[in-house]
């Protein structure tokens, strides 16, 4: 890794931050003396969970402090240091610096690009503001050049597009092109790939890597995703509560971590191979009895012994003794037949068939726009515009929740993606969790409270959370409360829609842990919807890959991962970032 810095500038650093401290307006220090140096052509990853101060540190490099933060102390020097301390520069000078010498790529390109401006014009504007290039013709040439560099088309027609005419990945590449347009010496990237699916993420990461090396730009890559770090960074600094707790070369930090926090963080990252044990409980993939999958979409009711206990075991785990009643069960818990849904001409779901047995966990994998959320909402009855049938225990369900019986509603429970939106901020946790009970006719307040407490205990929240409101809870705690609401009525099927995507890895690990425990303890079935293929071996026994409203690959988790049939699955697997 040190070889590529042997060029002209191997000793001088591009940016040197020393003892940077940032306080809130209220006087609470949230960054406690952070120091790091960025070298040309190399990328330093700033890793940490939400609230660790990584973004604050990154923005401090540009002399920017978010609202509610006081101006930081410490020193940030650029290159040879002739600009002086960035933290003390007046606003006018900082404006000249930002975008020209230090540029920034924000997390969400959809929010950072001006929706009413053509992309070519937006990049030109940056150049014009910083007086790069003498004439407009020269600037246009530069725009063409940078667009090509980030792998986009650069013809005038493309430059005349508006941001909404581009995909998320393309928008982010425009953002990167804009950041590189003035040939900065330092670039701060704030989770630029978080909202992208793995295939696009791989392309964007490659682009950043190439450009940083080609133009000798020093990169500061802020992320919470350790797998991405392994792909892109030369050095890693791990942040915990406003401190850098470990700093070193990527290989060293990821493979020989010194600090216990780094080790914990690494242990929480799910891996595709399923070797790592995420959370306290064993992965369920091999532990659970697995039902032989029938041919795709055709019910295998002919099979008399639908169980294999030994075929899919992980090394070292013992086969679980199969309860006899499970073997006798022949009707699947859930069966979908020719489920379709379209909005006008656009087919969101196109003939989905699959079935799920009792106690089985299935992952529904797909990128954004593949229809996976729509599918899960159809199952939960939140979307009643579908055609085809959904059967629960062999009985066809009505389409919408309101027309389903209260018993059917009890059996299928749905957990929403964002814990920040799924709980009413004005109601206490106990009230929110109690709603399903109330609706299934349990009117006795004390009884309800007992059941709520039981559910909260199951998700390890306990009594002290009952009378708090969501605003007092962290994201992980809120998601647990949301799961408690789903569990309070003892469902047969839990539909989880991307429930860990808004959460940190360590929180994700504990949620996965919880779900595995619940599944084994209550013999509950689970439909786990996600875009993160790395979770597959940690949560599911079956895997269905969804693309453009169709299931393109289906089978046991191991079968699909080891022997992907469809080119889309193969592509997904090839692009999964991993660090071992």
């Amino acid at each position: 890794m040190t070889t590529n810095t042997m060029d002209h500038d191997s000793v001088a650093s591009a940016l040197c931050a020393t003892d940077v401290r940032v306080q809130t307006d209220a006087g609470v220090e949230i960054l406690h003396g952070v120091s790091f140096t960025l070298q040309p052509g190399r990328i330093l990853a700033l890793v940490g969970e939400s609230g660790s101060g990584k973004t604050t540190a990154g923005l401090a490099c540009m002399g920017h402090f978010r609202q509610g933060l006081a101006k930081g102390t410490g020193t940030v020097h650029l290159g040879d240091g002739e600009m002086g301390n960035i933290l003390e520069l007046p606003a006018a000078q900082l404006r000249g610096l930002r975008g020209k010498t230090i540029s920034y790529v924000p997390q969400d390109p959809a929010l950072s690009l001006n929706p009413s401006m053509r992309i070519g014009e937006q990049i030109t504007e940056t150049l014009r503001v910083h007086r790069v290039g003498a004439t407009d013709a020269e600037r246009r040439l530069r725009v063409t050049e940078v667009l090509a560099e980030v792998g986009l088309a650069n013809d005038p027609a493309y430059q005349r597009r508006y941001p909404h005419q581009l995909s998320g990945g393309q928008q982010q590449r425009v953002g990167i092109a804009m950041a590189f347009a003035c040939r900065p010496s330092v670039i701060v990237l704030d989770e630029p790939t978080t909202g992208l699916d793995v295939t696009t993420q791989a392309v964007v990461l490659r682009t950043i890597d190439e450009l940083a090396a080609r133009h000798q730009v020093a990169g500061l890559y802020i992320t919470h995703d350790l797998a991405v770090v392994a792909e892109i960074a030369d050095e890693v600094a791990v942040m915990l509560e406003g401190d850098i707790v470990e700093h070193g070369a990527t290989d060293q930090v990821l493979f020989a971590p010194q600090h216990s926090y780094t080790r914990r963080l690494l242990a929480a990252v799910p891996d595709l191979a399923g070797k790592r044990r995420v959370g306290q409980v064993e992965a369920i993939t091999g532990e659970q009895p697995l039902i032989v999958p029938g041919p795709h979409g055709i019910p295998d009711s002919t099979s008399t012994t639908p169980l294999v206990d030994d075929a899919k075991l992980l090394p070292g785990t013992m086969p679980r003794t199969t309860p006899a009643d499970t073997a006798a069960e022949t009707t699947p818990l859930l069966r979908l037949r020719d489920l379709s849904l379209s909005y006008g001409q656009h087919k969101v779901l196109d003939g989905i068939d699959f079935q799920l047995r009792e106690g089985e966990s299935m992952m529904l994998l797909g990128e954004s726009g593949s229809g996976k959320t729509t599918l899960s909402r159809c199952v939960a009855g939140l979307n009643d515009a579908y055609t085809g049938s959904i059967e629960l225990f062999g009985e066809q369900l009505a389409t919408g929740t309101r027309s389903r019986s209260s018993e059917d509603r009890r059996r299928i429970q749905y957990v929403f993606q964002s814990p920040f939106s799924s709980l009413n901020p004005r109601r206490t946790i106990a009230e929110s969790v109690g709603v399903p009970l109330q609706m299934s006719g349990i009117n006795d307040k004390h009884r309800r409270r007992m059941l709520v407490l039981e559910a909260l205990d199951q998700v390890r929240l306990g009594e002290r959370f009952m009378d708090r409101r969501p605003g007092d809870l962290s994201g992980g705690e809120r998601q647990r409360a949301a799961i408690a609401r789903a569990l309070v009525n003892a469902p047969s099927l839990l539909v989880c829609d991307e429930i860990t995507s808004a959460l940190d890895v360590s929180v994700q690990a504990s949620i996965l842990d919880l779900l595995r425990t619940l599944q084994t303890d209550h013999n509950m079935s689970m439909l786990f919807v996600t875009h993160n293929i790395a979770l597959a071996r940690h949560i599911s026994q079956r895997l269905a890959v969804l693309q453009k409203g169709k299931i393109v690959d289906f089978g046991t988790t191991d079968d699909v991962l080891n022997n992907p049939q469809h080119s889309y699955t193969q592509e997904l697997l090839a692009n999964v970032p991993a660090f071992d």
């Binding site: 939140l382 929740t401 939106s421 709980l423």
Partner: protein
């Protein structure tokens, strides 16, 4: 349906008033507004009890010749004691204004929430009907109704309340539209919670911020409205003591006997400024909280 009362009892509409009010009262302008409002409210509410005892006259008693200096603030056009009439004249104004505001809020909020939550054709129908009502000038509508039905208290309240409702409905609809996209509304739908209950327990507590602001604003307008209608002779009828009416009766002798106009004008002005300051700081407090909640 036996759970209905229970739920309503369990979930007070304003779920966290202390924090919002505490935030509001931290602002100096809110304190000032509160003092101004309370002073006028006290005068208006306690005034009728004080009249014969403090001033020695009731509000309709003739004490001397018109426009003289008898008593603290002199006499009005019919020779009645101005101070007595002033003390007696605020209560009805404030009660009518409060009732009209409450009526407008209830109707407007119900209509606005229903429109936003139903969406589609129902929404379009309600809101276009709303637009028709908005197109009628408030005063003209009030004049028409009062001319037809006569200047009675309930007519005043209903007319002002009804003319407020479309404006409140607009605000409510936009506030509701922001809330109904949240997943907790979808969660309630999933559990088949009755629609009216979703509106009452899930939506309403989350839009109290803008609604409180609207409430304050509409209260201010109502006060001005009732006073204006009385001034025009369409509100309170003589010989009732009323601030709006007093201004009208005494304005012909503004130079000779200014108190007959100045006292009620000052009271209405102070009350309006006071409620406006309160509303303003309430708006700021609720906006702050929303920012804090968003994460």
């Amino acid at each position: 349906m036996s759970t209905v009362e229970e739920v309503v009892a369990q979930d007070p509409v304003v779920a966290r008033p202390p924090r919002l009010l505490a935030r509001m009262m931290r602002q100096p302008q809110a304190k000032l507004g509160m003092v101004l409002t309370l002073v006028v409210m006290f005068l208006a509410l306690a005034g009728p009890l004080l009249t014969p005892w403090l001033t020695g006259h009731t509000s309709t008693e003739f004490t001397g010749r018109p426009f003289t200096d008898i008593g603290i603030f002199g006499t009005d056009n019919l020779g009645r004691d101005v101070f007595s009439r002033f003390l007696d004249g605020g209560l009805r104004l404030i009660v009518y204004a409060a009732l009209a505001t409450a009526l407008g809020m209830v109707v407007g909020v119900a209509v606005g929430m229903t429109a936003a939550y139903s969406g589609g054709r129902v929404d379009a129908l309600i809101m276009r009907g709303n637009d028709v009502l908005l197109a009628l000038p408030q005063l003209v509508f009030a004049l028409l109704a009062i001319t037809v039905l006569g200047p009675q208290g309930w007519v005043l309240v209903v007319v002002i309340g009804i003319t407020h409702a479309p404006r409140i409905a607009r605000v409510t609809r936009s506030a509701t539209a922001a809330v109904i996209t949240e997943d907790y509304i979808r969660a309630s739908e999933m559990y088949a919670v009755p629609k009216w209950k979703i509106l009452l327990t899930e939506v309403l507590p989350n839009i109290t911020g803008p609604l409180m602001v609207e409430l304050g604003l509409r209260m201010t307008y109502s006060i001005g409205f009732v006073a204006a209608l009385s001034f025009l002779g369409l509100g309170m009828q003589p010989p009732t003591a009323d601030w709006g009416l007093m201004i009208n009766e005494s304005r012909i002798a503004l130079v000779v006997q200014p108190w007959g106009v100045l006292l009620p004008v000052a009271a209405i002005a102070v009350l309006t400024v006071g409620t406006n300051l309160l509303t303003d700081s309430l708006a700021r407090a609720s906006a702050d909280m929303n920012v804090g909640n968003k994460k």
